[in-house]
Structure formats: C-alpha cells, structure tokens
Subunit: 395 residues, 2 copies
Amino acid sequence: MTERILVLGGDGYLGWPTAMHLSARGARVGVVDNMSKRAWEREMGVQPLIAIPSLAKRIAAWQEVCGRSIELFEGDLTDTDFVHATLGSFRPDTIVHYGEQPSAPYSMIDVHHAAFTQSNNVVGTLNVLFAMRDLLPDSHLVKLGTMGEYGTPDIDIEEGYLTVDHNGRRHTFLYPKTPGSMYHLSKVHDSHNMHFATRVWGLRATDLNQGVVYGIETEHTALDPRLATSFHYDEVFGTALNRFCVQAVAGEPITVYGRGGQTRGYLNIRDTLACVALAVDNPAERGEMRVFNQFTETFTVRELAERVRDAAAQLGIEATVVHAENPRFEAEEHYYNPRHSGLLELGLQPHLLSQELIDTMLQRIVQHRDRIRREALVMNVRWTPKPAAGAPVGS
Amino acid sequence: MTERILVLGGDGYLGWPTAMHLSARGARVGVVDNMSKRAWEREMGVQPLIAIPSLAKRIAAWQEVCGRSIELFEGDLTDTDFVHATLGSFRPDTIVHYGEQPSAPYSMIDVHHAAFTQSNNVVGTLNVLFAMRDLLPDSHLVKLGTMGEYGTPDIDIEEGYLTVDHNGRRHTFLYPKTPGSMYHLSKVHDSHNMHFATRVWGLRATDLNQGVVYGIETEHTALDPRLATSFHYDEVFGTALNRFCVQAVAGEPITVYGRGGQTRGYLNIRDTLACVALAVDNPAERGEMRVFNQFTETFTVRELAERVRDAAAQLGIEATVVHAENPRFEAEEHYYNPRHSGLLELGLQPHLLSQELIDTMLQRIVQHRDRIRREALVMNVRWTPKPAAGAPVGS
C-alpha cells in the first residue's frame, strides 16, 4: 500500500520543498496549511524574494510538471476538530510537522506576539498528539524543533538526552534546554509535550533539532518557476546566511550582531529534505521520542559573513561586513560542541557550504534583485526594549 | 511605605488564606481572580465541602472581622490589557501567583481541557511577566509550581538546578523535568518562561515547587465561617490526604491508586502560607530565578491512607483501605529523594502531619458530612482512555 505522509505547514520555506520531495519519492502526500505565514508577512510588510503562487496553484503546477498529485487540507492546527477530521480522513502513516510560527524575532515583538507564538505552536501540536492517540496510535510524528532550544551550555550538547551521574546514582534525562526567545521556548514546550505523549500514550515521535537552514533551491523548486519556495531575507523571517547574501547583492553592509562569535549549526535546504526523508523511512519505536540534532556544520556568524563577502567579491560585488548592535540577548563568545551523528548514521550525505554554493545563491538572488526591499533587512525587533525617553528606570 | 502584594488566584484554596495571612501581617493586599475555578466546579458537578461565599463577600467579612481591607480586581490573566492595567494601578512590590488551572485530572479529561490548561496557564504567566518587565521591573514574582514537575528520576532531586559534570566540563542547568500530566507540563512551560524573563530581562522570580497540600483550616479561616477556604475532596480538585479523610468520614473505602508506593512531598496548608511569606520577605535578586522545593515531609500514598484509617478508628469510624486501578500513568515504586532545605534555611518551622492533626481534620469534616457527595470521590478521569468497545487496536 502506498505510504501516506501529511506535511503540516506545507506552504512554508521548508514545508513545500519537503512535500514535493516526498511526493517525488512515491508517497501519497497531503499538505496542511492555514496560510497564516502569508498573513504574518503582510503584517510585517515583507515578502519572499521570489513571488510565490498560492499553494493550490503550486500543487496544480506540481501535477502538471511531475504528474503527481498532492492533496490540500486548508485549515488551522489550533482547530481541534479540523485536525481530528484531517487525520481521520487522510490517515497518514507519517506526519511531518513544520506547522508553527517559525520566527524568533516575530515572537519577541511584544506580549501579544509572544503569547500568540506559544499558544499557537503548543496547542497545534497538542491537537496533533491527541488526534494521533485517538485515531492513529501507530503513526509516526516527525516534528521540526530547533538547535536554538539548547542554548549554549558550557558542556557538550548531546543528541536529545543527557545521562547524569549524581551522588552515586545515574539517570537519563531529556537534555535540559536554555532557549533564547519566546519562539524557541515554544519548541521546548512542544518537546516536553511530545515526550509525555510517547512515555504515557506510547506514540512514536522524532524531534528534529534543526540548525539554521540556508539555500534557495532544491531539485524540485528548480524544475519550474511556479515551484519556487518562499525565500526570506528580511530580519524577521530570513535566516542568517540567506540574509547576508541578499545584503551583499543589494549593496548593503552585511550586518553581524555584536562581536559575531555566536556559533550555530547550519545546513543546506537540500539536507533538510534528506534528513526528514531519513526520519520518515526509519520511524521511531512505539513509546520512543527519538531526537536528532539536524545540521551538518557549525560556523560563527562572523565566519559566515566573511564567506559571503569573499564570494561576492569574486562576482564583482563589493560587500562590507559591519558589526551592528545586537538586538538579541545571547552570548557572543561561547563553548559550542553539539553532537550530530544520528542522521549521519542513517546515511545522510551532507551538502557542505562551499564557495560555489554561495556563488550560486548570489547569482539566483541577482536575478531577483529588483524585488529586494532594503527596509526589510533591518527591522529592529529587540529582545529587551529600550525604555522610552524620560521613562523612569526601575519601578 | 506599606508593602503592596497582589495575590493572583485569590479566590482559591490557597489564594484566599494567603491573602488573609499577608493582609494580617500588615501588607496592602490586592486579589485577582476571574472566578473560573467556580465555573470549573459547576462543569464537573462538584462543590467544596464548606459552602464558600463570593470573593467580594469574603473580603467584606474580612474587613468586618479584622478591620483590614483587601482590594478586588476581577478579571482574567489571559486578558493582556487587564493584567497590564491591574499591575499598573496597584503597583505591587510582590506578585504571588496561584492564578492557574490547578488540577492534573482536569487537564487530562480530553484534548480541549489539555489545550485550555496549557494555554490558560502559560499565557496568563506570560502576561504577568511582560507587564512586570514594562511597568515594574523591580517587583518580585512568587510563582506556585509543583513538585510534580520533576517526576520521579532515579537520582536526587535538587532544589531547582542541577550541576552536571560531563566529558571534563561542568554546567549548571535548570533541573530537567519529567512531568506527569498536561497540568504539570503547563507548570514546566511556565518555569522555562520565567527563567527566560529573569535571564534576559533581569526580573526577580521565585519558583515554588510545592508538594501536595493538606488541611482545612488556617489561623484566619478559623475566625469566622464566612472566611473558610474551598476545601475539595472530589477526585478532580481534591488532594490525596484531604480526599482520604472525607472518604473515611463518608464510610467509603479509602482508595489508593495501584500499589500505593508513589512517594510525594506533602505540607500543611499553614506551612504553604508561611513559605510564601518567607519568599515574599526575602526576595530573589534581579536576574535570579530562585527555586524552592516547598514541602515538609514525604509519604507513600499507602502510608497516608493507613494513617487516616488509624486516626478514624480512634474516633470510632471504621475505614478500609482498598487498592483501586490507577487511572494515572506513574511509577508505583520508585526512588525519591528531593531536597527541601531552602525554606528551612529561611526559617520555616514545619507543622508536621500528626495523628492529632488528622483527628482535627476528621472532626471538621464530620461537621459538614451532610454536604459530602459520594459520586465526586471517584470520577474516572484516565491518563490513557480505554478504547471504546469494538474499536480497532492500532491504526
């Protein structure tokens, strides 16, 4: 029987290429989205670099280009009845869950955006877990988390769990998390809820603590302009390397927050698809919450910026790297040694970051340079708001 | 200047006696409640053992009996504007936060109750943290958590933090939590959010991981029948010892879940008030999330049940202890060694559980025995629902 995979958040930067990738491999794929990312873009006044047709049009284009159908379920994951009905009718073997508010800066705008991000993400995931329990207890949840859940502890970051020897006894815990934003906190909350659902209800789940994804193109987005993915370069939805490439092309300085020693895990968007497919093909056991740290390389922000500058120079684009005031609260120099062997052991073949890759990204961005809106590059969402002029300090 | 203390959840089992206790000590006290606990009681068809006047009437009775006023702010903590306005007008030095859905069984009824519990508790606390940041950054949050956040790990439970030596390096983490219900998970989410607010915004917070509270009377509830607190004995809102005492008086068997080796920390309601007052009098530093494990003794559930049976026998009440199927998912025999030195070091003088105390509780319950509703003693909320008859197993 054909494998059924439901991709939650199928309209997103990663959800859409994942849906095509899994469809091309032969699965029957459904996508769920409420198109709220597009609403958040309008709210913030930003747009993806490449104009993106509606999800229904992309699905029609996919059918036309590849002869494969993808089913669309339009609705909100915080709507319990919708989630129950969708899982009940599609009956997925695997649920790939990208369907959350994905931006740390968006979650830090104010109390409303913080509360929305946490309740939206947590309640959506709870609805999925309960529907799995009640309808599809043997199905497998592949949930996207983030390496940002861990923060930057002074010891090695293990892959999901930490065995602690203490006063002559030993226990293995979920690895303790020290996340850096209201968004990252929402993913920590999700991980605890998923862990409960595996421990108590015996569900299967894989928690993918993903690094920062870069890249503009996958095997299938390249087939037709209508299949492009929503590449963001703005400060709210754009990730570091993507934003730096656009800054270089736009002739703007590449802005590194603070000293730029912040080290993070990174991966190519093509590797995201490969990792998710490996997790789908090798499901967790019943009662297991399996955790993978999903990235292929670590870089400091400063290193990334310099690589982009150097690649741009070879294309005749002169870019400068500047150190801007850090709007986030984070250590700018720190120990960082996260494990990431689980997906390699399953067979991941990484696409490492190369000069050539940056060149290709820059060239693709040059093709769309007329759509770059400079004001989106720096939007000034601050982790700790500056007090208003004249406001009292202290209480 | 008179100290100002705002008690969130001031209509509850602990909130109301805490408000009176702090008011009697001389603070200017405000209470916040949206009376939703009373709505949840109606929903579940349960009532406190002692009929409780409205919060406004209790406040008027307190004024009459003790000559001290308490200010009432009626509203919902999930209403951002209400929280902002209330903190802005009352300007508390300390916020004592009991204002959450407090029942594990209630949170496990179904997906709606789980999602409600988590979003209600998490969003309410976020609103408080943001309002503190923006209006009262020097104020001190004293937040009620629960020992149930920790679960029952195989190593000692430290007081909030765990220092881990790993591969030759050392880091101190928030103690990793393995909570046992959707309610307990909501408190874990709160703790992570509070930790963020202290780390990033420099707020002051004390997280009280409280054990199971028992008792029916405090110094001030005893002053006047109108000042009584909402003592619950039903399976959803009643805690273990309280429920066992009511079962004995009602001539019902004392129901121990499973083998009854579940060990938990317990404390007298009078000690809850003393602990909260100690936390108020000794605020956390700016940027500190201080954690106390708030209980005075540990017992197995079996021990508690036997103590109640023996005390009842001396009052001529013959009670039996029965082992009922455990509706929860929890280890029934396990290691349990939680620290609880922080509050003792601040001067806590515990009221330990004695035969005499159980006698007094039983006698007070006998006075109200005509209000006991037997059907509330066993309500059958299960952590893992039984499949409906004829339902397929697996997907």
